[in-house]
Amino acid sequence: MEAKAPRVSLAAIYSCFFWIGLFSFGGGLLPWIQREVVNTRKWMSDEEFFPGVALSQVLPGVNSTNISIYVGQHLRGAAGAATALGAMLTGPFFMVLLAAASYKIVLGVPAIQAAMAGVAAAAIGMLLKTAMSAVQAASKSLPPILIMVATFAAIEFFKLSLVTTVLLMTPVSVFLCWPREKPDA
């Protein structure tokens, strides 16, 4: 066990990820997790958190649940990972059951559709803030900035898949960002 991090209770992990899971619409999970885990609760640093984001892209499974497993495992090992995953799925599971019973009514109301589009737009805004944090954490010297721009371009302009991009860029990035001084950890 690493001595550095304070021990986080499983109840705290459950409560953190339960609310994230329940209230995250439109794929807006990553920003919320990053904000809660790094900024609000200070369980991890951006430098520890974002590599998990890249890892979760190449692993099978949904990115947001994979990130919750990555964070849970970082904090409390197997119990932490299982707690985080269970918490992420509890709320949505019951919401889906609710929706199954009522969706024909809900999807027909334009006012609800407008509200949901607004929620989705706000969720993208949260992701923009997360992107800004990631850019800030990564922009410490020229090589990572070049890698960042190349990764962005690979997806946006060359239309490579996320998995291909990560598998292509990571070796190059590791080579360029290889620590020349002794690692400080």
Binding site: P51, Q57, T65, Q73, A122, L162, T170
Partner: protein
């Protein structure tokens, strides 16, 4: 009949769990093929409806599988579907995360961590742009995106729920005003 459906759900969804590299979008096509065409668990229209619901639901959109489970066998079907979708991929992710954690502080780990950081940053930036394009890319959407990001930058105390609600209210007012 009951066990047959539950076993069928596991047989279809557990392999898809491991195939869902890059998220839920990777499994829509094979899931539709199995659930609609081969096994006829749901009609094409139902599958499309489920897809639409998931866009408006919290949580991962692969929970679409839970709706199919619900249609087949009610709550138990939904539960079996959810577990089949998440347990296999989660075990793989856990093994990777644990290996990753164990080697903290090694020089190659530090190098990989530093190397992955800008890759992740590029991915997240690309994600913002893709979602903006998917949402229709209107001025209204852009304004809310920039507004929310600015609010989060200026204040550390803002709660995400409040921001999502604000987005809903702004769009609701725009809709009432005819935009």
């Amino acid at each position: 009949m009951r066990e047959e459906n539950l076993i069928g759900l596991i047989a279809v969804l557990a392999p898809l769990s491991l195939a869902s590299v890059g998220g839920a979008t990777a499994i829509y096509a094979p899931l539709q093929h199995e659930a609609v065409e081969l096994r006829q668990w749901v009609t094409p229209q139902e599958f499309l409806d489920y897809f639409a619901i998931m866009r408006f639901m919290p949580g991962p959109s692969s929970l679409l599988g839970a709706l199919i489970g619900w249609k087949l066998e009610g709550v138990w079907g939904a539960l079996v579907a959810t577990l089949s979708l998440y347990i296999p991929s989660s075990l793989v992710c856990f093994a990777a995360a644990r290996t990753w954690h164990r080697f903290r502080g090694r020089p190659w780990h530090t190098a990989l961590e530093r190397g992955l950081l800008p890759v992740a940053a590029g991915l997240v930036c690309a994600g913002v742009l893709s979602l903006f394009q998917l949402s229709g890319g209107s001025l209204k959407v852009g304004a809310v995106i920039v507004g929310v990001a600015a609010a989060l930058t200026l204040s550390k105390k803002l709660h995400p729920t409040g921001l999502l609600l604000a987005g809903a209210v702004i769009f609701e007012m725009a809709w009432l005003a005819g935009y």
